[in-house]
Amino acid sequence: MKYLDEYRDPAAANKLRQALKTATTRPWTIMEVCGGQTHTIVKYGIDELLPPGIELVHGPGCPVCVTPLELIDKAIAIASQPEVIFCSFGDMLRVPGSRRDLFGVKAAGGDIRIVYSPLDCLRIAEQNPARTVVFFAVGFETTAPANAMAVWQAKRRGFKNFAVLVSHVLVPPAMTAILASPTNRVQGFLGAGHVCSVMGYEEYEPLADRFGIPIVITGFEPLDLLEGVYRCVRMLEEGRRGVENQYARAVQRQGNAAALRLIRDVFEVTDRKWRGIGTIPQSGFRLSSAYAEFDAERRFAVEGVQVAESSVCISGQILQGLKKPHDCPVFGKSCTPENPLGATMVSSEGACAAYYNYGRFRHPAPAATGKLEKVNV
């Protein structure tokens, strides 16, 4: 497949490895924000290919993992109502709520449907005028244009039986929060390539400047990740700060104008709670007032359930890059993909599931020469 195969070429990967090896003279800690990048790294064993001393930590780039517990419970409550057809991307169905997951709701009789595109929901709404179709609109900025289009179309075409449960989160506030934390270890970032193909990367420049770090906007194939790490290491070695664009074939600095116009019409920025982290101000989207009639939270008036926090799951520290999955005492034992304790194990993008499924619990990556700081919990 064009634009995929070339970026998986073993000879090219090897050359990048060598370049990286030559360029690296000191240990560095780099975070890749995006769950899709984590997936590739672990699937292709890329962290094994890096020179010792380069440590990749996995950030909170998994919208499935960071969707708050309360929202999962709301989704479950809505999906359990008999007149509802609840539509979702596949990723969300196994995320545990307080008592069960959406698969459990399906098993108990709920009408839960997997969709590929948000527009599929409109078709279902059209075919089922007596039922209410609710779509779980989850994602980072990447998915916002698609979700926005579904809502915009619904309004334009006068749908009365369609609503969305919004759980959008934004990358820059999360990165800012991580960088501002006193326990931060991250020295450079691989920016989320597809988020930036929508949003552009202008908003990362002040971030790089303020914290004095390199941010390399990176793609998702093995060569992209190797080149992203290479360019980040070059900047770190040379003491350069700022934003570079490794994924220039799909990302422009100003982003996608058409998508941005739509997003700014349908959504507005709001505070959001991140599972495993807490509330980060101005870090999410909600529907703007012009589209309030499509807000499932308002239409169904579901109250969230407050849940006692468990102390065993360290999803929070993993999402912030402070720990690796194999640092967790229950990783692979009482917490596995079939029996997940936390969101990072459920989502196939979550760091724990990625590690488990690709087996790092047997082959832990060699420790970076920089030691992990002890964190007081």
Partner: protein, 88 residues
């Protein structure tokens, strides 16, 4: 996040007042919304995420990494010129 895959636009049409396309992913074809990449033409490659094209692939930029690696070949060692920086 963000599974986005390159596919080739083989047809364009309008539906519900949206620009749509039939996109080819190695022999499987999916109907994709092209509203956000309205300049797409037949033969272009676009990155598709959840049934929406997010950007058109720039052929020239796509070759950059391979030019860089070839440069390494010729010198027989690491090319020392820094990659392009973002002007600030």
């Amino acid at each position: 996040m963000c599974l986005g895959i390159p596919g080739k636009v083989t047809e364009t049409y309008r539906e519900h007042d949206m620009l749509m396309g039939k996109v080819d992913f190695g022999g499987v074809f999916k109907r994709v919304c092209l509203e956000h990449v309205p300049e797409s033409k037949i033969g272009d490659y676009v990155i598709v995420h959840v049934g929406f094209a997010l950007s058109r692939i720039d052929e020239g930029e796509a070759r950059q990494i391979f030019n860089f690696l070839e440069g390494m070949n010729e010198l027989g060692e690491l090319q020392l010129g820094g990659p392009d920086e973002v002007p600030r």
